[in-house]
């Protein structure tokens, strides 16, 4: 088991390398870069003095180097104009758009992004698990139909619309401040109990809004998986032993239906992040989503590259967790991996 985990972690390194290369490649695909766009603009306005400064900056950030060198400098495997200074060394690059290091731009948002993602995944799982089981064991009952209808509504309603409605209602009924992840008076303040509670209260709406469609999909998947399992021979065997229906359900088919459920942890994260960009803008959430949007618009390459890479790392971490959980839950995976040794 330990060997399996270690091997999975080692296996992530080449994956990360490939991802980082792809990210860099895609970001560099549009012609020019942030600075050359600026230069073109300034030239059009006839401001030659600034152009010289920007040309200097271009050299400073090695933007005039060939593609592969730029990539290696970015990840920190090649000396840049100021020696080795890239992702591997902990230097996340410079954001031209915001005029400060990437670290300072995204730093405050990263933790909140992770927290929001974590609570959303938790929400999706906590809500969909009992409903999925209910729907499968009482197939074609009124409850099943009701949840199915709700699920389709959840899938079909645009997230931002749902967000706006919920914001309005919560403001009317509970007096929650509109938007943001905390009440305005706490922004920039040190952490305190009140601030924490405020963050929790403000997490509810985004969590529900971002999680709805994921929950709906998850309920359908769990229901389908469980329905498949309920009629398998081993369930009949267990019933023939005299187990009561509830015990039987929990011990056998539910364990089996858990597999796809766990395997989805990794998949759900990128869809949550990319799906939450608009919601984050609408709800004014300080997550990386809106920053990613701005950076892509202005071709702020180091910033965009870093955020995409960050989301990839989150996804890989999710995959790792789900793989390890799967190996723990399912002996076929665990022993299959060890049987080959």
């Amino acid at each position: 088991m330990l060997v399996y985990t270690l091997r999975r972690i080692v296996g992530m390194i080449p994956t990360l390398l490939v991802i980082s290369f792809l990210v860099f490649f895609v970001i560099e695909l549009p012609p020019g870069d942030y600075l050359s766009n600026q230069i073109a603009q300034l030239k059009a306005q006839g401001e030659a003095s600034s152009v010289a400064k920007l040309e200097f900056l271009r050299h400073e950030f090695a933007l005039d180097a060939p593609f592969w060198q730029r990539y290696l400098i970015w990840i920190g495997a090649w000396p840049g104009p100021h020696g080795f200074s890239g992702l591997l060394q902990g230097d996340w690059g410079w954001s031209f758009e915001f005029g400060k290091p990437v670290e300072q731009v995204v730093g405050p948002t990263l933790l909140l992004t992770v927290v929001l993602n974590f609570t959303t995944v938790l929400f999706v799982y906590i809500v969909s698990f009992p409903i999925g089981i209910y729907s499968a064991t009482r197939q074609y009952s009124w409850g099943d139909y009701g949840f199915t209808l709700l699920g389709y509504l959840g899938l079909a309603t645009p997230n931002f619309l749902l967000g706006l409605i919920m914001l309005y209602l919560s403001n009317r009924w509970f007096g929650l401040s509109v938007g943001g992840l905390m009440a305005p008076e706490f922004i920039g303040q040190p952490w305190s109990v009140d601030k924490f509670l405020s963050v929790l209260a403000h997490l509810i709406i985004p969590t529900i809004v971002i999680g709805t469609s994921g929950t709906a999909g998850m309920i359908r998947r769990l229901r389908a998986n469980l329905l498949d399992e309920l009629h398998k021979q081993y369930v009949t065997t267990a019933r023939a032993k005299g187990l009561s229906e509830t015990k039987l359900l929990v011990k056998y088919p539910m364990r089996m239906a858990l597999n796809p459920f766990i395997a989805d942890i990794g998949n759900i994260i990128p869809s949550l992040v990319s799906g939450s960009v608009i919601v984050s803008v609408v709800l004014n959430l300080p997550t990386v989503g809106p920053i990613l949007l701005t950076s892509l618009q202005s071709q702020d390459q180091f910033l965009a590259g870093f955020i995409i890479l960050f989301v990839s790392v989150l996804t890989l971490a999710g995959m790792l967790i789900s793989d390890i959980l799967l190996a723990m839950v399912d002996p076929r995976i665990r022993l299959g991996a060890e049987a080959g040794r």
């Binding site: 267990a238 019933r239 005299g242 399912d330 002996p331």
Partner: protein, 626 residues
């Protein structure tokens, strides 16, 4: 006093198209300590009866009449199971405790996520109130009782780590851990190889006397019935046709259905030329295009296919990223010759490589080494040609000459194509004739296999298993082949249908001058249809001879073990359970000299021990060479 008495039981199924009566006023009883066999073909309602006894009927089914009286010898209380709530306390107390059940499929009847020990001990924890530790000890004893090689270790293994035979032992242990008064065995050995079947049957016999329980054995196999049962109940379409002690049933069957069924089973002691009598015989109607003399037919008895030192290795993906893949030898130097006009039987247990051989002969897989030569008589090049060198038009011509009938009649026909589409496809692929002639030929094919050409517009689902298999045969015959490879064509069929298909295949061979390669695990079936038999084990041919020589005078220890393990549907040739050596017989390392294979030697060659009787015996070969 009977332990279980079923009186006037009726079970109805509700469905969209209206009701279906699965069991119709059935009555029979099971005596204490005895084995009662419930015999019937698929769909006869025998499994429904077992489900009714266990209270695990599907939701759509309902007991509409009758009683199921269970008389527990432990406390003498009589319970009417039909009246109990299937999910209720009292039924659950009986189920798995006083009545145990063993299902047909050992592969699927255990949960893959729980250890064997956990699943077996569960019933003991539930019914006997044992603690986890006590249950573990009880499970260990039980595993020892069902003769697990290493009970202590087996407790913590998962079902997928065990072979089919061991899994079925585990299922039996699970059913018996609470020492039930009645064991229901629902086709307990149907999914197993014949040597393992014999061991499981022996085990059930031993356990019965040890635990003093009654067994309700549900089966369609008269061989199993003859060897196991004391009482026999024959069921047909939900009705009990006949019941009585086993010797009366076999020696003096009364009901015409039972008589017919007994005559439909192939036996080893059949007279040469004796035909099976299916319930409904098909008369193949021949004429027209199919009977047109083909341009040439080589002389009968000349080699048509030569399989020469064929080997096939499969690479298994291993778990690790950097480990080399493991190699499995599916075929190891297989050589034999098929003669024109004969039927060669290929017999072996699962994993013996018989299907791989057949697929290689079809040029459907590429062998790792060795050759298959086919007699392309009269074609441009002519003579025996290595089929792996055939290309273009030659290859198409070869494909027309050799066709295949598959095992599973349900998955081998595309459910989205009508029978007309299925039968016209070969003609379309080979662009062999115009539409008018094609339609005539298709109609002829239908008549040839005894089907009505009016049904050409139907889809496969509206045909029964036997009818579908006939469609598969018609498809194989469409292009006028010389050779037909039959890959277990009757093993998914009921006894009566099996006889029908076997007779049809025999008649077609006579009329059309076909050559068959008949792959099967069932020795009796192969004995009925084949002229010569090749026995395969672990990717090697171990014995090859005329069928009479092979059946009467088997030389190889594996062939002998295989023959010993076949339960014959007759009381005169009962299995000798004490003499069974089957478990070890399929392990080449356990064969005595001169049969033991040489691990590092060249590909094994057969030795001729009698005229046309070949045996794999490296010791003899070496002696002859020396």
């Amino acid at each position: 006093m009977s332990i279980l008495s079923i009186q006037d039981l009726t079970v109805d199924f509700k469905s969209m198209e209206g009701g279906l009566r699965a069991v119709d006023h059935a009555s029979f009883s099971i005596a204490p300590g005895r084995t009662t066999a419930l015999v019937g073909e698929s769909g006869s309602g025998k499994t429904v009866i077992s489900q009714a006894i266990m209270g695990i009927l599907p939701e759509a089914a309902q007991i509409t009449n009758g009683k199921i009286l269970f008389n527990d010898p432990a406390d003498g209380v009589e319970t009417d199971i039909a009246k109990l709530d299937p999910g209720g306390r009292r039924m659950r107390d009986l189920r798995g405790n006083r009545i145990g059940i063993v299902f047909q499929e050992p592969m699927t009847s255990l949960s893959p996520l729980h250890t064997v020990g956990d699943q077996i001990g569960e019933a003991a924890r539930l019914h006997l109130g044992l603690t986890g530790k006590q249950a573990r000890a009880a499970t260990r004893d039980m595993l020892r009782l069902v003769q697990f090689p290493d009970p202590e270790r087996a407790l913590d293994t998962y079902p997928f780590e065990l072979s089919g035979g061991l899994r079925q032992r585990a299922v039996i242990a699970m059913a018996l851990i609470c020492r039930p008064a009645l064991l229901i065995a629902d086709e307990p050995t149907t999914a197993l190889d014949v040597t393992i079947q014999a061991e499981i049957l022996r085990l059930m016999n031993q356990l019965q006397s040890e635990l003093d329980m009654s067994i309700l054995l549900i089966t369609h196999d008269f061989g199993v019935v003859a060897n196991m049962a004391e009482e026999v109940v024959v069921i047909y379409r939900g009705r009990i046709m006949e019941s009585g002690p086993v010797d009366e049933i076999f020696r003096d069957p009364q009901h015409p259905y039972l008589k017919a069924l007994l005559h439909a089973v192939p036996r080893f002691d059949m007279e040469p030329g004796e035909r099976l009598a299916p319930l409904r015989e098909i008369k193949p109607e021949t004429g027209g295009h199919l009977m047109k003399p083909r341009e040439e037919t080589g002389s009968r008895g000349a080699p048509i296919i030569e399989v020469d030192r064929l080997s096939k290795n499969f690479m298994l993906r291993s778990g690790g990223m950097f480990q080399p893949p493991r190699m499995v030898k599916a075929l190891n130097g297989v050589s034999f010759t098929v003669k024109r006009g004969e039927c060669l039987g290929l017999v072996g247990e699962s994993g013996s490589g018989k299907t791989t051989t057949a697929m290689a002969m079809l040029h459907a897989i590429r062998p790792s080494s060795g050759q298959i030569r086919y007699d392309m008589n009269g074609e441009a090049v002519g003579g025996l040609r290595d089929i792996s060198t055939l290309q273009g038009e030659d290859l198409m011509a070869f494909r027309r000459k050799i066709q295949v009938v598959f095992q599973d009649p349900f998955s081998s026909l595309n459910p989205r194509m009508t029978i007309y589409d299925i039968l016209s496809e070969p003609y379309i692929i080979h662009k062999s004739c115009n539409v008018a002639e094609r339609n005539e030929r298709i109609a002829e094919l239908m008549r040839l296999v005894g089907l009505d050409e009016k049904h050409l517009g139907r889809y496969p689902h509206s045909f029964s298993g036997g009818q579908r298999q006939r469609i598969g045969i018609a498809r194989a015959l469409a292009l006028g082949p010389e050779v037909i490879l039959c890959d277990e064509p009757v093993s998914a069929l009921d006894v009566s249908v099996q006889a029908q298909i076997l007779n049809l295949l025999k008649d077609l061979q006579d009329k059309l001058g076909l050559t068959y390669v008949f792959v099967s695990h069932n020795l009796a079936v192969v004995d009925y249809i084949a002229d010569r038999i090749a026995v395969m084990c672990r990717g090697m041919v171990v014995e090859l001879a005329d069928k009479s020589a092979l059946i009467r005078d088997p030389r190889h220890p594996y062939t002998q073990a295989l023959l010993e393990a076949v339960p014959e549907p007759s009381l005169d040739h009962l299995l000798d359970f004490d003499a069974l050596s089957a478990g070890r017989a399929s392990d080449p390392q356990a064969w005595p000299e001169p049969f033991r294979p040489r691990p590092d030697g060249p590909a094994p060659e057969l030795t001729e021990v009698a005229p046309d009787h070949f045996v794999l015996a490296p010791g003899l070969t070496e002696a002859a060479a020396a």
